[in-house]
Amino acid sequence: MTTLAFLGSGSRKRPVTRTAIRAGEPAETIAVTSSAFLMLALVSLWFVLQALALGGLSEHRSQALLYSSFRQELAAATAPTGGVITPGTPVALVSIPALGVEQVVVEGTASGDLLAGPGHLRSTPLPGQAGISVVFGRASTYGAPFSEITSLRVGDEVVAQNGQGSVTYHVADIRRAGDPFPAAPTGTQGRLTLVTAEGSGAFSALRPSAAVYVDATADKALPAPGGLPAGVPASEQVMASDTGALPMLVLCLALLVALTLGVSAARQRWSTALVWVIAAPVAIALSWSTSDVVMRLLPNLM
C-alpha cells in the first residue's frame, strides 16, 4: 500500500523558509513518523474513497456504456442467448421496480467482471431462461448494485430482459446459510437467484461478509439453449477472489515507483508547482487503476 508515497514525501520536503531539520535530532523522528502516518492515511482513505465513491462513478459509466451497447444488440437481435459467451459482454437487463434498480448484467462473475455491474454465473441459464439462473452483484463497493436486495419482500417483482424477451419473476424467499433450498423448477419454470453479501452489527453496510441469496421464480420462462460451460473456475464462485490479478498489480506498483523516482528527479530541475501540475493527473490515474486491480484481489461480492 505504498501507492501514494510520493505525495507525502513531496509535502515533507517542501523547503526553504523553515529551519532545516538535521539528522539525529528528535525533530527528525517526529517528522518521519508523522509523514509515515500521513502516507498510511492517504493510501487507506484513497482506497476507501475509490471503493465507495469513485468506483461507483466507474460502475455508472460502465453501465451507461453497457446499456447503450445492449440496447443496440436487442434492437439488432444480436444479443447472446446461450452457449459460451465472452466474459464482460452484456447479457441481460435486470430491473427491480421496488428498489428502483435497473442494471445491465454482464457475463461472468469474477471479481473484475463485477466492477462493471452485476454478473451472470456462466454455468447457469441466462436470466429469463428456464432453469436456475444465478446473478452476482456487489453489496458495498463499486456502485453496490445489490446493496438493497435483502430488503425485498416475497412477491416483489424482478424483471429480466434478455435477447429472447422479458420475464417477470416474483421474489420467493431470501436465503441465508442453513435455509433449505426451494423446490427445483420443472418444465418451463425459471428461478432467478440474486446473490450478494451482507454484514452484521455496526457499520453493517460497510462489512459485507456472508453470502445471501434472493430467489425469485417465474412459472413461464423462456426456453434455454444448451451448450453451457459445465463449470466455472474457482475465481467465479461465491465470495471468490481473482489471484490472476497479481501480475497486473506488480506492473501497476512498478509504474508508481517509476513515477515517484521521476517526480524526485524532475524536482531537481523544475519548480515544485510545475512538476505537480504534470505529475498529479498521472498519479491519480495510476492510483485509480491500481485500486481497480486491488479490487480484483478482494472477494467478488464486496
Binding site: A27, S34, S35, F37, A41, L52, A177, G187, A197, M239
Partner: protein, 841 residues
C-alpha cells in the same frame, strides 16, 4: 391373453405329456400341488454284456421347485432320485465342460411343449433344445465305432451315414465315406434353423465368449441315485434365438442318461461305465460314449425325458408397453423390487386402478422427494424426521429384508455349501477390508498378521467347518455391497453396532485369534447409510509395470461396491465377483486399466454379497444364517422374519415399527436382517388425486398383494405375507389405518415449523456450493414411464441447505481502512503540530 386359460392349458399339456411318454416308460401324473412339479418314469436300458442280454431298470422321480410365471434368469431347483449313479464327475457341469461324464442327468431349456396334439412348430424336439456349443449337437466318427447306429429305438433315418438332417448342409463340409455323422440342428424361433455342425453354424448367443455362461448342464447323480441342480432359465431377453417368453411356451427337459439301448451286440453300443460310480474326472479323460451325455438326443435317451412345461411371467417392460394412463411413480427401497415386478401389472393393466410405478432410489432421497411433493409416496424402511409441516403416515407394505448370499464350493468337488453361518464381527471384518486379499495386500500396514481371506479366518472356520482352508482369493476376502445410500446398509451396520465383540474389533481390539481391523476403518462410527471406502493404501509393485503405471488403492478395488442390490444378485448368480484388480494393457494405445476378474470356476467358487431376500428367492441364491442371540443363528426364512416382528415395537400409530437390533440380540428366533418396507405419504397437504392413488395402493397391496404366489398381483417368495392374523396382525391394522388417514388427509399439520420445501440436488460440483443445481431433463416428477433409478440414485444428500459462505476479509476491510486512514491522519496532524511547537516550521 387370458392367463388362466394358458395356465390351465399347460397343466393339461403336462398331464397329456405324461400319458404320451413312450410305452417303455410307465408314467405317473404330474403333481400339481403348489408351485412344485414332480413326475416319475420307469426308465430301461437293454444291452448285452458278455453275450448275456440285460435290462437296466430305474424308477426315476424328478421334482422341480417352480415352473410358472418365471422371470428372466430365475433359477429352478431340480432334484431327482432313482437315477443311475453317475461316474467321472466333472468339476464344471455346465455346457461342454460336463460332456466327459458317465450317466449324468442332462437338463436343458427347450422351446415348445411335449404335446403331440399341438402344431409341429409348438412342439418340443431335440432340435428346439438349447446347447451352447456345437459339440453337444453333432457327433461324427468312423462308422465302425458309431454307437448311435445300433440304437434299438432309432428310426431307420437315424441309422443312416448322415442322420438328423436329410442331406449334409454345404456349410458342414464333407464327410469321408467311412465316417458317420449325426446332427441335431437348432430350430430358432421364427423358423430359422442353424445347422449346429461347427462353431460357425451356431446361433449368435452360442458364440465363443458370449456374455452369458451356458445354462444347460450335465448334472451328477450320487451313488444313492439322488441328485439336484439349480437351473437358470433364460427368457428371450437373454436368448433371443431360443425365444422363451410369456407368449412362447417352453419346457425344461430333464434327460437322465441311461445309455443306449442296443439292437445288436455292437461293443461300442453295449458299453457300460469306464469309471466307478461317484468317481471324479477332473482331467476330463475320455469316457464311454454310450453312457455319456453325448447321445442325449438319441431315441434311447430322449424317450426317457421329463418335460416340465414352463410359463414365463409378464416381463418388466409390460407396463411401459401396455399400461393405461400416466404412471404415478413411487420412489424408494430396492427391497420392494421383486414384489413390484409382480404387482405393477395388476395396476397398470386394470382400468379401475392407477398406473403404479416403482422406482429404486436411496431411502433418504425418496423420502425427501415425497416431502417436497415431487412424488406421491416413498417406499422406505424406517422412520425419518419430518422436514416440513405436513405429518407423514407409514403403512407397512412388505416384510422382507436383506441377506448375505453366498456361492461357495466344498473342497474336492463335493458340491456346493448349503448352510453358512455368519456373525456381526465377520461382517465387520469383511466390510472394513481387514482381510489382505492377496500376498500383495499383506504389505498393507496393520494387516500383515491377518488371515488373507475369510475362509482362512479361524473364527469363520470354527463356525463353518469343512470348507476350503488352503487357498485364498480376493473374492473370498470381501463382501460385495452397495455403493449408494440405503436403509439396508444402515441395518447391516446397526447390526454390527449392537454386537459388543464386533465393536471391540472396530475400536482396535484384536479378535481371539489375533486379527486386527484395517487401521483406515478403526473407530468408525456406526450405523451409516452409505458404506465409505476409506482405505487409500496403494501397493508398491516394483516388478509389475501395469500396476506400477496404474496406481490405485488396492483394497477398495477388491471391495468394488456396486449401485444396486440387483447387480449383486446377478454377480452371485453367475459367481462372478466384482473384484476390479485385473490390470490390463491395451497394446494399441499403451494405456493401462484395472478391470474385473474372471467368473469363478465351478468347484472353487467363493463369493459373498448383500442381496434382498426376494432376489435370493427369485434367483435361487443361498443366504447365510446370521447370529441373533449369542450362539443362536437364524435363517432368513418366514420363521426368522416372524421372529423379528415379534420383538418389534410400535409407538405412534402412524409411525413405523422399530425392530431394534438390541432386542434381536436377546432373541433366538429373530432374523437380524429383517426389514419392513413402508409406504410413506403425507396425511395432510397431499392433493386429492394423489391421496386417492396412495390409499388405493395401500389398500390393494396390503390385501390382494399379500397373497403368496407367483402370479400377477401376488406376493413373491422372500416376503412374509402381512395377514390379519398372527404376528403380522398389528401391521395389517396399521396399514388400514394409515391408508384411511391418507385418503381423507386427516392429519394435523405441525403449527410451529415454518414452511420449507427441501429438495434433492444432484451432486454437481460445477456449481458454487451455495447455488443448487439446475434441473436436468431427469426431473422425476414428470412421470416418464421408464424406470430411471440410476439417474436419481446418485443423489444421496437428503435435504439440501444453503451453505454458509463468508469472507472475513470482506467483513473487516473497509471499516479497518477507514479507521487506519483516520487514525493515521490524526497522528500525522499531531506530528505537524508538535514540530510547529518546536518552532521548526
Amino acid at each position: 391373453m387370458n392367463r388362466r386359460m394358458m395356465v390351465g392349458a399347460t397343466v393339461l399339456v403336462a398331464a397329456l405329456g405324461a400319458v404320451l411318454v413312450p410305452a417303455a416308460s410307465q408314467a405317473q401324473p404330474a403333481s400339481t400341488s403348489g408351485v412344485a412339479w414332480s413326475q416319475t418314469h420307469d426308465l430301461t436300458r437293454d444291452y448285452t454284456v458278455g453275450g448275456v442280454a440285460k435290462t437296466d431298470e430305474r424308477h426315476v422321480t424328478v421334482t422341480a421347485s417352480k415352473r410358472t410365471d418365471l422371470q428372466a434368469r430365475e433359477r429352478i431347483n431340480v432334484s431327482w432320485s432313482g437315477a443311475h449313479p453317475s461316474g467321472a464327475r466333472a468339476a464344471n457341469p455346465y455346457g461342454e465342460n460336463g460332456m466327459n461324464q458317465e450317466y449324468p442327468v442332462v437338463i436343458m431349456e427347450c422351446r415348445g411343449l411335449d404335446d403331440a396334439s399341438l402344431p409341429a412348430d409348438q412342439q418340443l424336439s431335440p432340435n428346439t433344445c438349447w446347447t451352447s456349443t456345437w459339440g453337444q449337437r453333432t457327433t461324427k466318427g468312423p462308422t465302425s465305432t458309431a454307437a448311435w447306429l445300433h440304437d434299438k429305438y432309432a428310426t431307420d433315418a437315424d441309422t443312416q451315414q448322415v442322420s438328423g438332417v436329410s442331406t449334409l448342409p454345404a456349410e458342414c463340409g464333407t464327410l469321408p465315406a467311412t465316417f458317420s455323422e449325426h446332427i441335431t440342428p437348432f430350430d430358432a424361433v421364427g423358423a430359422k434353423t442353424f445347422s449346429g455342425c461347427n462353431a460357425d453354424t451356431m446361433p449368435p448367443e452360442a458364440a465363443i465368449g458370449s456374455t452369458d455362461p451356458p445354462n444347460e448342464l450335465e448334472a451328477f447323480t450320487g451313488t444313492d441315485g439322488k441328485g439336484s441342480a439349480q437351473f437358470e432359465v433364460r427368457s428371450d431377453t437373454e436368448n433371443a434365438s431360443l425365444g422363451c417368453s410369456h407368449t412362447v411356451a417352453c419346457s425344461l427337459v430333464v434327460v437322465p442318461i441311461m445309455g443306449l439301448s442296443c439292437k445288436d451286440t455292437n461293443v461300442f453300443c453295449n458299453q457300460t461305465g469306464a469309471f466307478a460310480p461317484g468317481s471324479s474326472n477332473f482331467e476330463l479323460n475320455g469316457v464311454n460314449a454310450a453312457v455319456s451325455p453325448q447321445y442325449w438326443w438319441s431315441a434311447s435317451n430322449w424317450r426317457g425325458r421329463f418335460s416340465i412345461p414352463l410359463t414365463f411371467g409378464l416381463p418388466p417392460s409390460t407396463c411401459q408397453l401396455l399400461g393405461t394412463g400416466v404412471p404415478t411413480p413411487f420412489y424408494g427401497s430396492e427391497l420392494l423390487s421383486q414384489a413390484a415386478l409382480q404387482w405393477s401389472p395388476a395396476y397398470c393393466l386394470r382400468k379401475d386402478r392407477f398406473n403404479w410405478q416403482d422406482n429404486t432410489m436411496p431411502d433418504d432421497a425418496a423420502f425427501a422427494l415425497m416431502q417436497s411433493g415431487q412424488s406421491a409416496a416413498a417406499e422406505v424402511s424406517g422412520r425419518r424426521s419430518a422436514d416440513g409441516p405436513d405429518p407423514v403416515g407409514y403403512a407397512p407394505t412388505a416384510v422382507t429384508g436383506f441377506g448375505i448370499a453366498y456361492e461357495i464350493d466344498k473342497p474336492d468337488n463335493a458340491g456346493e455349501v448349503t448352510t453358512l453361518r455368519l456373525n456381526a464381527r465377520l461382517l465387520a471384518k469383511l466390510l472394513t477390508e481387514s482381510y489382505p486379499a492377496s500376498t500383495m495386500g499383506l504389505a498393507h500396514p496393520g494387516l500383515s498378521k491377518n488371515p488373507i481371506s475369510l475362509n482362512l479366518d479361524p473364527e469363520f472356520r470354527k463356525l463353518n467347518p469343512g470348507l476350503d482352508t488352503s487357498h485364498f482369493s480376493e473374492a473370498a476376502s470381501t463382501l460385495l455391497t452397495l455403493s449408494t445410500a440405503s436403509d439396508v446398509i444402515k441395518t447391516i451396520t446397526d447390526y454390527i453396532a449392537h454386537d459388543p465383540e464386533a465393536m471391540a474389533f472396530i475400536d482396535g481390539k484384536a479378535d481371539p485369534w489375533g486379527m486386527r481391523i484395517n487401521p483406515s476403518y478403526k473407530g468408525i462410527k456406526l450405523p451409516v447409510s452409505t458404506w465409505p471406502l476409506l482405505d487409500t493404501w496403494i501397493p508398491s509393485t516394483p516388478g509389475q509395470i501395469c500396476l506400477k503405471n496404474n496406481p490405485a488403492p488396492y483394497l477398495p478395488k477388491v471391495a468394488a461396491p456396486v449401485s444396486s442390490l440387483r447387480l449383486i444378485a446377478t454377480a452371485t448368480l453367475l459367481s462372478w465377483p466384482n473384484v476390479q484388480t485385473v490390470c490390463d494393457t491395451d497394446p494399441t494405445t499403451g494405456l493401462y486399466k484395472l478391470g474385473r476378474i474372471a467368473p469363478q470356476g465351478v468347484g472353487s467358487r467363493f463369493m459373498l454379497g448383500v442381496v434382498t431376500l426376494a432376489d435370493a428367492q427369485r434367483y435361487g441364491l443361498r443366504v447365510a444364517s446370521l447370529q441373533a442371540a449369542p450362539g443362536k443363528y437364524v435363517a432368513p426364512d418366514n420363521a426368522g422374519l416372524s421372529g423379528a416382528l415379534a420383538v418389534a415395537k410400535h409407538g405412534d400409530p402412524f409411525d413405523p415399527y422399530t425392530i431394534s437390533q438390541a432386542s434381536i440380540r436377546k432373541s433366538s428366533k429373530a432374523y437380524p436382517g429383517t426389514m419392513v418396507v413402508y409406504t410413506a405419504a403425507k396425511t395432510h397437504g397431499l392433493n386429492a388425486a394423489d391421496a386417492k392413488k396412495v390409499a388405493q395402493f395401500i389398500s390393494v397391496s396390503s390385501t390382494e398383494g399379500q397373497q403368496a404366489g407367483r402370479g400377477n398381483g401376488q406376493l413373491p417368495a422372500g416376503y412374509l405375507p402381512i395377514k390379519d392374523s398372527g404376528v403380522t396382525k398389528p401391521l395389517f391394522a396399521t396399514a388400514a389405518k394409515v391408508g384411511n388417514a391418507i385418503r381423507t388427509q386427516s392429519g394435523k399439520p405441525a403449527a410451529t415449523t415454518p414452511p420449507k420445501t427441501p429438495t434433492v440436488p444432484a451432486n454437481d460440483s460445477a456449481l458454487p456450493t451455495g447455488v443448487d443445481a439446475a434441473p436436468t431433463t431427469s426431473t422425476p416428477a414428470t412421470g416418464a414411464p421408464v424406470k430411471t433409478p440410476v439417474v436419481v440414485a446418485t443423489a444421496t444428500q437428503p435435504v439440501a441447505r444453503t451453505m454458509p459462505i463468508t469472507s472475513d476479509l470482506g467483513g473487516v476491510l473497509l471499516p479497518m481502512l477507514l479507521f487506519v486512514g483516520l487514525a493515521g491522519g490524526v497522528v500525522a496532524g499531531f506530528g505537524r503540530i508538535a514540530l510547529r511547537a518546536r518552532g521548526r516550521r
